[in-house]
């Protein structure tokens, strides 16, 4: 894991004191809310439906047991005993007091964490593959590149007031586990025919009210030009992005309106201009960063066999563990989606359990998934039963990864001031319905995602089944969409037709899964069947 150097620590400590002073001035009245709002947002502090909400950055989703334990302490000491893991691999606290915010940031700084750039029109927390460094299919660990970009983008003076927020994802495998092409910039670290590493740049993707899939604008940028190319992409956006209209200010609109070809031409021109300007950090810095992400001391010859005599354990192994590049190891996914629970929520006690288990069984590493679960990336197969037993005792052993119970849901109208409808109760009802009917297993991989408003924090555009909550004359209504994917087979879901009320949407989901069960061929996933037969049969079943 990356560890702060003196510069990182000084920057974060200085920001804590700066914000402490800003909060004090707000409380004293020398700063108005209009003056204070952009300052608090730069430090991840929102004013939400019930209270202040603090969003804490977890760079590329990676954290240690000690860090997870402090997140638990924050939940307990300053909030109401729980936190919410988000679709940007961050954590949010919903009940923060302004007068505590400085102390919270100081506590976080002690374990090399902060809330900087988790809001505002700047480059946000950079996300990555939650199986980075462990995945059997990766070209290289993408996190050193994500860390390099984190350092470049932190407090970048030119990019602190962009036309709109800016999200970057970095992966390094053919399988896309980070929704890479639905980001403002998606970077895929690839190897060319000569065996050299480089970066493919995808620019102009995103969800929100105008979902778009990012086109590839350059398929190979040498890694010693990675930052310079990213800077060129940002510069063109910063210069021409629509500052006059919030709803057209994201880079996806610029790329769409200019056309990918013209945008690329401008980026290439800027790139040439920047090449000799010293933007690129010394390659030695990347090498220094890379040392922090060296493989842990894996046991060679670790046992491959798993005792599957306990059927509940065997089911969890089948569903929630992922092949690892090291023989005798797997990555284990801790589900934060118990049936009837709140997707992504974890109590302080559960966070401490995860911290302990990460230390004991996964070389002190945990990862937050953008699907609102937590990964222990490096677990010996021989330790799996002990791990599962401990998880199960803590209510963290649900065997439902990538099933219809593993729902992404934004906080929705229960917490979010932007939301138009509640997301969480719908997720709970759907999970309960399918658990009761015992259809979860037979449906196989089925990614269902729910957003409570058009901003799409719940990634509904990318759901095999997507649900969008809308406000229809003061009443919650839910639009159903089908056929989305955030993976390497990326696609945007299409709306089925008129929406449903809260109970109706649960029935509607059951109806479309019924069509899938009827129509599927062989081992087809829901998404495969939808793509083969199209929307027609689903609409017919829904609307007659």
């Amino acid at each position: 894991m990356y560890r702060y150097d003196q510069y990182d620590q000084q920057m974060v400590d200085a920001r804590v004191e700066e914000f402490r002073d800003q909060a004090r001035r707000r409380l004293e009245g020398t700063l108005s809310e209009d003056q204070f709002k952009p300052l608090r947002l730069m430090n991840g502090l929102y004013l939400q439906l019930h209270a202040y909400m603090l969003r804490v950055a977890i760079p590329y989703g990676t954290l240690s047991g000690a860090q997870m334990r402090v997140l638990a302490d924050v939940a307990e000491k300053y909030d109401r005993g729980y936190g919410h893991f988000t679709t940007r691999q961050n954590i949010q606290y919903n009940w923060i007091k302004l007068e505590d915010a400085g102390d919270i940031l100081a506590d976080l700084a002690k374990i090399e964490m902060h809330a900087i750039q988790t809001s505002g029109n700047c480059i946000r927390n950079i996300s990555s593959d939650h199986f980075a460094g462990a995945a059997a299919d990766e070209v290289v660990d993408p996190r050193p590149y994500a860390e390099l970009l984190r350092q470049w983008s932190s407090f970048h003076p030119e990019f602190s007031y962009l036309p709109r927020k800016f999200k970057i994802a970095v992966i390094a495998s053919e399988q896309d586990r980070a929704a890479m092409r639905l980001h403002d910039i998606g970077i895929n670290i690839v190897r060319n025919e000569a065996g050299e590493l480089g970066a493919a740049f995808y620019v102009g993707g995103g969800m929100g009210r105008t979902p778009m899939i990012a086109p590839c604008i350059r398929d190979f940028v040498p890694l010693d030009r990675l930052v310079t190319y990213a800077e060129a992409c940002l510069r063109v956006y910063n210069r021409y992005g629509r500052r006059d209209n919030k709803y057209k200010a994201r880079i996806k609109i610029l790329v769409h309106e200019l056309g990918a070809e013209e945008y690329t031409r401008q980026v290439e021109e800027e790139f040439q201009h920047l090449l000799d300007s010293g933007v690129e950090p010394p390659f030695a810095e990347l090498e220094r960063i890379r040392t922090f992400f060296a493989d842990p001391d894996f046991e060679t010859g670790a046992k491959e066999d798993i005792d599957r005599s306990d059927p509940d354990f065997a089911l969890w192994v089948d569903r929630n563990t992922i092949p690892h590049k090291q023989a005798g190891y797997v990555s284990a996914v801790i589900s934060l989606k118990p049936v009837g629970g709140i997707p992504g929520d974890a109590t302080a006690e559960q966070m401490r359990v995860m911290a302990d288990l990460g230390e004991r069984y996964s070389f002190d590493e945990l990862r937050v998934m953008h699907t609102q679960n937590v990964v222990l990336p490096h677990v010996r197969k021989a330790d799996l039963h002990a791990l599962w037993t401990a998880l199960d005792e803590a209510g963290l052993g649900s065997p439902n990864l990538d099933t219809i119970e593993d729902i992404i849901a934004c906080p929705g109208l229960d917490y979010c001031s932007l939301a138009n409808a509640r997301s969480i109760p719908v997720a709970q009802k759907i999970a309960q319905r399918f658990a009761e009917t015992k259809k979860t297993a037979t449906l196989g991989q089925l990614k269902l995602k729910i957003s409570g408003c058009i901003n799409a924090c719940g990634h509904h555009h990318a759901g095999h089944i997507g649900i969008l909550g809308v406000d229809r004359k003061g009443v919650e209504n839910y639009q159903l969409s089908l056929g989305g994917s955030e993976a390497e087979d990326v696609s945007l879901a299409k709306i089925t037709g008129p929406g449903f009320d809260e109970d109706g949407i649960v029935d509607a989901v059951e109806t479309v899964t019924g069509v899938y069960e009827r129509e599927r061929e062989g081992e087809e996933r829901f998404l495969d069947t939808y793509r083969r037969i199209g929307m027609g049969p689903f609409k017919e079943a829904l609307y007659g």
């Binding site: 439906l49 209270a51 302004l98 709140i342 229960d414 939301a419």
Partner: protein, 98 residues
């Protein structure tokens, strides 16, 4: 009727104008029709509340009930965590929101 609501500056808690002070309980709120801008300006200047604004409401069983579901969720707390609402012991309170 119109209610004046905002968030407590220090704690962020949802608050309602009672005619003389702020309360976290919506049932304490009073009709501010015609006075909302004046009260909001005065109270914000006194730093007793953050970003106050008026909402529509109606009387329901003798107490104010915000007209829009978003304000009812604000008034009570998250419907998915009854234990964190202002009325954790009332099993029927969800119906007031929905």
């Amino acid at each position: 009727m119109k209610l004046l609501t905002g968030n407590d500056l220090k704690t962020g808690a949802v608050t309602w104008w009672t005619g003389s002070d702020w309360s976290i309980h919506v049932e304490d709120a009073v009709d501010v029709t015609g006075q909302e801008d004046e009260i909001a300006s005065r109270e914000e200047a006194a730093r007793r509340v953050n970003v106050p604004y008026a909402i529509d409401a109606e009387l329901h069983e003798g107490s104010p009930r915000p007209a829009h579901i978003k304000d009812r969720v604000r008034a009570l707390g998250p419907t998915v965590r009854p234990d964190l609402t202002l009325k954790p012991a009332d099993p029927e309170i969800g119906k007031w929101v929905i």
